[in-house]
């Protein structure tokens, strides 16, 4: 049992939290992972102007416990889960600490806040997490709470580039594909990810040649026994390319964090951020080298 992977679900008692919990539950069920549902309450230590109040602390804790219990019921009986309340200066910090505490390999949060514009907006929590986590982060798009938990994971797609981080990314993808017993799809964005201003025809040519090269290399790096298909995204922009590809409802997309990130930390590059806006399925962002 101790070998089972663990997933931290960052829960808040709103739609975004329900999205996160539903996705985390689906992932945990599909991969046989243990689900650690974590609510993060504000730590009083950060407090500089409002007096602390033990009574209110207790009230908040009871309220959060009630929220967690209700949310836990919605998960159904198939998912092994534990409920936790943690204190931290921020939601993101609390989730990262919880991931370390439980040895979790994944943190799941709701991507959108407010949800006014559907899946297109990335919330401040997800944003902070993406800038500081050393654990892969799954972003549940708004509406994930509507997806039935038994849909499971039907395919794992890895966005392959040539950038550093691909190793960790590939490793995480293979692991997820194995755990969920699903096929892996390698997807190259190389033909799009070129500096602007190049001659379009030339770009397309060098781009597709480059893309094939990258895919071949990635395939060679795969361990034996992993079935992987390959595809190349084409289009004049990331948005076009993402729209042109086919996505299964139970698909999970993995991307590596940007070159700008500090080693072993996440940072969502502009490519990944653009993709997130278009993707109809959850995305997992993997730090350049994972523990």
């Amino acid at each position: 049992m101790s070998a089972a992977p663990r997933i931290v679900a960052g829960y808040t008692a709103d739609d975004s939290g329900a999205d996160a919990l539903a996705l985390a539950g689906r992932l945990a069920r599909a991969s046989g992972a243990l689900l650690e549902v974590v609510m993060v309450l504000p730590s009083e230590a950060r407090n500089a102007s409002v007096p602390t109040d033990a009574g209110y602390e207790r009230f908040l804790k009871e309220q959060s416990r009630a929220w967690l219990t209700t949310a836990s019921r919605a998960l159904g009986d198939d998912v092994e889960r534990a409920l936790h309340i943690r204190y931290a200066e921020s939601f993101a910090e609390g989730l990262i600490q919880a991931a370390h505490e439980f040895g979790a390999r994944l943190i799941v949060v709701g991507a959108a806040r407010g949800g006014l514009f559907g899946r297109s907006r990335i919330g401040s929590v997800a944003d902070e997490l993406l800038h500081s986590s050393d654990v892969p982060v799954a972003l549940a798009p708004a509406g994930s709470r509507e997806v039935p938990v038994d849909l499971g994971v039907t395919r794992v797609t890895t966005m392959i580039g040539t950038r550093p981080g691909a190793d960790a990314l590939l490793e995480a993808s293979v692991r997820l594909a194995r755990q969920t017993e699903t096929p892996l799809r390698l997807l190259s964005l190389a033909s799009i990810d070129l500096p602007a201003g190049l001659d379009e025809h030339l770009a397309a040519l060098t781009g597709s040649a480059h893309a094939d090269e990258v895919l071949d290399e990635a395939r060679r790096a795969l361990p034996d026994g992993i079935a992987a298909s390959a595809a190349t995204a084409t289009g004049s922009s990331i948005e076009d390319a993402v729209r042109a590809l086919d996505w299964e409802p139970g698909e999970m997309v993995l991307v590596g964090s940007s070159r700008l990130a500090a080693p072993r930390h996440l940072f969502l590059g502009s490519t990944a951020a653009k993709m997130l806006r278009e993707l109809p399925v959850p995305m997992i962002v993997v730090p350049r080298t994972t523990a």
């Binding site: 500089a48 409002v50 602390t52 033990a54 209110y56 602390e57 967690l68 889960r81 505490e101």
Partner: protein, 523 residues
Amino acid sequence: MTHPSDPQAPLTAASSAIPGTAAGSETAKKGKGLSAGSVGLIGAIVIGISCIAPAYTLTAALGPTVSEVGVQVPAIILVGFIPMLLVAFGYRELNRRMPDSGTSFTWATRAFGPWVGWMAGWGLIAATILVLSNLAGIAVDFLFLLISQIVGNPDIAEIAMNPFVNVVTCLLFMLGATWISYRDMQTTQKLQYWLVGFQVLVLVLFSVAALVEVANGNAFDATAIEWSWFNPFAIDSFSAFAAGLSLSIFIFWGWDVTLTMNEETKGSSKTPGQAATITVVTIVILYLLIAVSLIAFAGVGDGEYGLGNPDIQDNVFFHLAGPILGPLAVLVSLAVLTSSASSLQSTFVSPARTLLAMGHYGALPEKFAKVSPRFFTPGYATIVSAIVASVFYTVMRFLSENVLWDTITALGMMICFYYGITAFACVWYFRAQWFRSVRNVFFTLLFPLIGGVILGVLFFTTLIDSMDPDYGSGSSVGGLGLVFVLGMVVLLGGVVVMLWQWHKRPAFFRGETLTAAETESPE
């Protein structure tokens, strides 16, 4: 660690350790992230001073206090601390035994049943809503003063006197404070330290400058400092004494949080006591310094800058900073402005939490118990408090020319009301334990009892005296003093709302949701 698949899986052991609930849950060392944590000594002092907001408090309360007791302001400041301290001891005992966000409401309900408890909660909410509107009002005055000092045009400070501009600006302040409170946005500790340090330094500078002006013979109405200023018996009537005292209770209001906020400190059990002591010593010294130097400079007469002049009494720093500090007066404006602004947030917390507790126990609609899932603040209660405070300020601004002054006096009365009930609640709640130890005799019987009696006497004296139309600022409605009308409207309004809630939500009033403790059982 267990992973039961029972949907009602209990929290893991580490998570369920809530201080003060299940016996034995008090784990010796809670790792980071497992408990709410707490602020250290310096942090507690800073929060304490910032809650009291000495710059704001003095500019609002000094004038009304002078009008009651003349030069004996220093005496009344010293005496005013006594009932505050006595009641705070009782408050601490109750907070230890029954930590609850409803504070006075919950404790009074447990001691005296739902009706008294409900009114205690109402008194607390009314007092904090009064101070919210006063804070915002003072902030408006100083905002315009600050702008006028910066651009060098005295006419701009006068804009604050226009009721429409004033109300609109005040509502904007209120909106900002609500936004900050709702989202629980915290200034960084560093910034907060600077703000509080700045406030204290400016007050010291202000008094030293006033004394220097006196020494140089430039004072407006140089008054020789005498020991009799510190003698409470030199005050000529008991009414004046009582009125002054209820004002000086207001100036220490908020200090009690330093005594209770740190009950569960990281290492030391001495921290709360130390923090409270250092805070109060700092505050008392500041108050005395300011009171003595300003009286020495301006006297208590009713001349242009005299502290007895009703035109300047509701906001004395506003009028005296210029004559004393000249171009540096801008610092005073900044200090008062930041002082009231940072106090707005901590003040917002208290009515919101009490409303939340009342909603939670069914004494008010359930909506009040709603907690924002993102910010973990009592969202609905915060917004309701803000709306009520805004409406209150708007009505008062058009009703009274001396709105700030009258709200301060009415506020003193409200504080006496709910603090008094809280003190008696402590005495009654612990009645089975009074003589269990010498400590109990003092902390659960004598201190809160004496404090409660003093506050009770103050409350009734102020109530009776304020019927006089000349009381306080001299505003009156229908031949009765405005302060009296205000106090009665607030309290009787509370009774009306209480009866309405009794009709709608009888369970609370039957004692089904929050039971009155028969007697505190020995441990």
